[in-house]
């Protein structure tokens, strides 16, 4: 909230606004607490030795260590990217600690440090209850080590492998070796190379041929220790005819220094397989003055490797000081389908540059993109996307819709879609609009006794409906709540 907005309100509403503003400002980030448990980790800094140490701590085989080192050497040769519409303080990669873990390695959920469990409790994810009641298996990542995995047995009966990445490297090296880096190569981009060198943990999912995963898989990520970048690595492989829905949610406690989060997510869908990947991202966005917050530089890519496969990304992005991510689909198999549904909300000084890439290689491939951006405060919100129809993409089809909603005069909303078409039978369509909440809509709601804040949240909810529809039920509820909380103090 700034003074110019208050000045624009008429005199009678100023008092009420001020009270509301004060209340809104006083409300603190609900997930902003720090868990006091002892941490062990590597000292800040990055060199080949750091990479070797991480690999050693993880008891990784030789090939994995070499793989990391290759990525590290490649990373050293890469220039820092500067093309996005972002305002970034230079990151000192030597000031980051690349490995942090709770001191005692828990063996089961019962052994998990109660402080940790309490932390989840405050975030509203009581691990046991949530898992049992909601039928969701949770692979909770607390900083860098997986602290508890539930429903392993039930999944194992179905033949589904769901575990932490470090475990997978030890237990299923042949699968990991086959697929890791096959979608996002180690040298793909600056942050993917960094991640490949130093990733600490993440989730691994393998759905065998013909299996429909009996439950929705979910991971809650959490960044806890100060000055630790978190570098997850997620790999999901769906074999022929299999089906999986994966949920990822993020909250991070309050910090004043910017923290780096550079994850890599790889999805592989073989013939007729389907992967649905949903994210609610609520990392700490920094305070109302733009101090602190997470740098969220993520590479997410799916590969529809088999014919008739399908990969669907759904994301709700409300957090992080800077978000930079483009969940993409390579449509390699004939008739494969890629989808991207996104809501990105920015407030205060947040910056988001997000979108997708749909690379059509196979015949009769289809993709659909629905992106909704909401900017408030002094934030900047960009959609950046690429739709590419290669020569072989006979009869391929894309539809893209990008809408931006502006709340306030100091924010920015941008759209940068790239369309590259090399096949004369392909069809690409793109539409984008930018508008603010109209006075008519507000007047209609207000005349029916709906408060200003409620009206805005209702209108925003309607604006995002198309995307929320794609989310699993409990996520949809959470997403709606998140938008309300994130927009507090945006109107006045």
């Amino acid at each position: 909230m700034n003074s110019s907005m208050i000045n624009e309100s008429n005199a009678s509403t100023v008092l009420r606004d001020n009270a509301e503003v004060a209340e809104a400002l006083g409300r603190s980030y609900a997930a902003g607490f720090v868990t006091e448990i002892e941490m062990t980790g590597l000292p800040p800094g990055l060199d080949e030795e750091t990479v070797r140490q991480i690999s050693a701590i993880k008891q990784e085989p030789e090939w994995m260590t070499e793989w990391r080192l290759d990525a590290y050497r490649h990373w050293l040769t890469m220039p820092k990217p500067d093309w996005a519409k972002l305002n970034i303080e230079p990151i000192d990669y030597q000031a980051i600690s690349y490995y942090a873990a709770p001191k005692e390695g828990p063996k089961s959920l019962d052994e998990v440090d109660p402080a940790l469990l309490e932390a989840y409790e405050k975030l509203g994810i009581p691990l046991h209850e949530r898992a049992a009641l909601a039928g969701v298996a949770v692979d909770a990542v607390f900083d860098s080590v997986s602290v508890g995995t539930t429903f392993r047995k039930q999944l194992a009966e179905a033949g589904v492998l769901f575990c932490s990445m470090s475990e997978a490297i030890r237990e299923y090296p042949e699968i990991v070796r086959k697929y890791l880096g096959s979608v996002v190569p180690t040298g793909d981009n600056f942050f993917a190379a960094l991640n490949s060198a130093v990733f600490s943990d993440g989730s691994f999912v393998f759905i065998p041929k013909g299996v429909r995963c009996p439950m929705e898989l979910s991971t809650y990520f959490r960044i806890n220790a100060q000055n630790t970048g978190q570098f997850e690595r997620t790999l999901i492989v769906a074999e022929e005819g299999s089906h999986v829905s994966y949920l990822e949610g993020c909250t991070a406690p309050k910090r004043d220094e910017n923290q780096l989060h550079a994850a890599v997510v790889e999805l592989v869908a073989l013939e007729k397989a389907q992967i649905k990947y949903s994210t609610v991202q609520n990392w700490y966005p920094g305070d109302e003055n733009g101090v602190g917050g997470i740098y969220n530089f993520v590479t997410k890519r799916g590969d529809c490797r088999g014919d008739d496969s399908k990969i669907s990304w759904t994301q709700v992005e409300t957090g992080s000081a800077i978000t930079w991510k483009y969940p993409s689909v390579v449509l390699r198999g004939d008739r494969s389908v890629g989808e991207f549904y996104s809501v990105a909300l920015t407030h205060h000084y947040q910056q988001a540059d997000t979108g997708t890439k749909m690379i059509h290689l196979g015949k009769y491939t289809k993709s659909k993109i629905v992106a909704k951006g909401i900017s408030a405060g002094r934030s900047s919100n960009s959609y950046r996307g690429l739709v590419k129809m290669e020569k072989g993409a006979e009869g391929a089809r894309n539809y893209t819709q990008c809408d931006s909603l502006l709340i306030g005069k100091k924010c920015g909303a941008h759209t940068f879609p790239y369309m590259e078409v090399k096949n004369p039978t392909a069809i690409v369509e793109h539409e984008a609009t930018t508008s603010k909440i109209s006075d008519d809509q507000m007047f209609y709601c207000r005349s029916r006794g709906i408060s200003e804040e409620d009206a805005v949240s209702m209108i925003v909810d309607g604006f995002c409906k198309q995307v929320f529809r794609e989310l699993p039920m409990e996520f949809a509820v959470e997403a709606k709540k998140l938008l309300e909380v994130s927009l507090e103090g945006a109107v006045g």
């Binding site: 931006s404 709340i407 005069k409 941008h414 940068f416 369309m419 590259e420 984008a432 930018t434």
Partner: protein
């Protein structure tokens, strides 16, 4: 980010001596831009503005500077004739003003129309603001070499309140020479308060040999001025043509631009408009139709900087054979530019498996009382429309031609000059695949 200056093209363009005007500020600006060009060379495709237009092939060529015989080159008079354009005319051949081909007698009162080479002999001060510019952006190579090298061009001024009834015709001709030639022209156009002008800009050239031409234009519309500008680019397929047009619109000024991009080897047009006065309006309609191995790139950038400004853009692209069409349509609404209304549409047809279309509509919005929308499509003719025509006995090829022509003609619909509209339409149809 740029290729080394050792490229043959860069070398050959720098080979010519810097023109000396004797005007201190102009010579300084030329020197500075030349130095910038020499230092940075040509942009490569990592420079965002040149992402889809590679200069590798062009960079390997050498062009001679200056055609000593430009004043006597024969030009087919029929190329200068346009229906409904029998008013004032300014003709340049290989970058040199040709009085014999121009029509500058009996200029209407309030119209100044002269070649830059003459204007600089008189009081050059009014041109100082535009001609002393230094080009800073990474992709500005051709603007730099143009600023360093151009010695001629159009100076056109319409006095405040004057309405010029007959269209003014500007013709830029590339005439055949023994060597492959590069030439540069610099245009300065200004409409005073409330002035009205209709302008026809033509680009033509002989089939052989290859040429490289750069044309940089600055167009200023003072308060309430109205400009109707039609551009017909129909150069031979051996000619590469790089243009930059910057339009500044003051309060309530209105510019309507119709553009036909038909010819050329590598054609690039940077069209930038700044709506700096309240209530200004900028409308563009354009079509690009590359075929063979042509590459036609249009970079449209519109900046809304004042209250209640409007822009509409309707662009069509048709790419055939192994040609490539590139379009960028960027709309920026600056902070405080409330009441801006911007819309842009770019529809494209791909007619052949070897052809490519790259399009990038962009919105950058920093104000909230704004209506902004864009749409872009790449595809084929509507199957149902084709079926409809065929079911009425029209052969497939003809039905295709008919629908493609209709697709393109949409951009000419609101061209008020009927004779010109028909002429342009005929040119469009002639370019369609048989």
């Amino acid at each position: 980010m740029s290729q080394p200056a050792s490229l043959p093209l860069v070398e050959s363009l720098l080979d010519a001596p810097l023109p000396i005007s004797g005007i201190a500020w102009l010579d300084a600006a030329r020197q500075e831009n030349r130095a910038a060009f020499a230092a940075s060379g040509l942009p490569d495709t990592r420079v965002e503005a040149w992402k889809y237009t590679a200069l590798r092939a062009l960079g390997q060529r050498r062009f001679a500077r200056g055609d000593a015989a430009a004043a006597s080159r024969a030009v087919d008079a029929s190329t200068l004739k346009l229906p409904s354009a029998d008013g004032p005319r300014l003709v340049f051949v290989n970058g040199v003003f040709r009085a014999d081909l121009s029509a500058l007698d009996a200029l209407p009162a309030g119209l100044i129309l002269q070649p830059l080479s003459q204007a600089l002999l008189g009081d050059a001060e009014p041109l100082r603001f535009v001609l002393s510019r230094y080009y800073r952006e990474a992709g500005d190579a051709f603007a730099r070499i143009n600023a360093a090298s151009a010695t001629d061009g159009v100076v056109l001024r319409v006095a405040a309140g004057v309405k010029i009834s007959a269209p003014v015709q500007l013709v830029f001709v590339g005439a055949a020479t023994d060597v492959e030639l590069a030439w540069h022209l610099r245009n300065v156009i200004e409409l005073g308060e409330g002035a009205e002008l209709s302008l026809i800009e033509q680009h033509v050239s002989d089939t052989e040999p290859a040429q490289l031409a750069t044309v940089v234009s600055d167009i200023e519309l003072r308060e309430g001025a109205q400009l109707h500008h039609t551009v017909l680019q129909n150069v031979a397929v051996a000619t590469s043509l790089i243009r930059r047009s910057s339009v500044r619109l003051h309060a309530r000024a209105h510019a309507v631009l119709h553009v036909l991009e038909l010819g050329g080897a590598l054609v690039r047009h940077d069209l930038r408009a700044e709506l700096i006065g309240d209530g200004a309006r900028f409308d563009t309609r354009g079509v690009f139709m590359p075929h063979g191995r042509q590459h036609i790139d249009t970079q449209l950038a519109i900046r809304h900087q004042a209250l209640n400004t409007t822009s509409t853009s309707t662009w069509r692209g048709v790419a055939n054979d192994r040609a490539r069409g590139v379009f960028r349509g960027a709309i920026v609404v600056a902070p405080g530019a409330d009441g801006s209304d911007a819309s842009l549409s770019n529809k494209n047809l791909l007619l052949s498996p070897g052809a490519e279309i790259d399009t990038k509509p962009e919105l950058e919005i920093y104000a909230d009382e704004v209506k902004a929308a864009h749409g872009a499509t790449v595809g084929q003719l509507d199957e149902r429309s084709l079926f409809y025509l065929r079911s009425r006995g029209i052969p497939l090829a003809e039905a295709r031609a008919l629908l493609t022509a209709a697709f393109c003609r949409a951009v000419l619909d609101d061209l008020p000059n009927e004779a010109l509209r028909e002429h342009l339409s005929a040119l469009l149809v002639a370019q369609l695949p048989a």
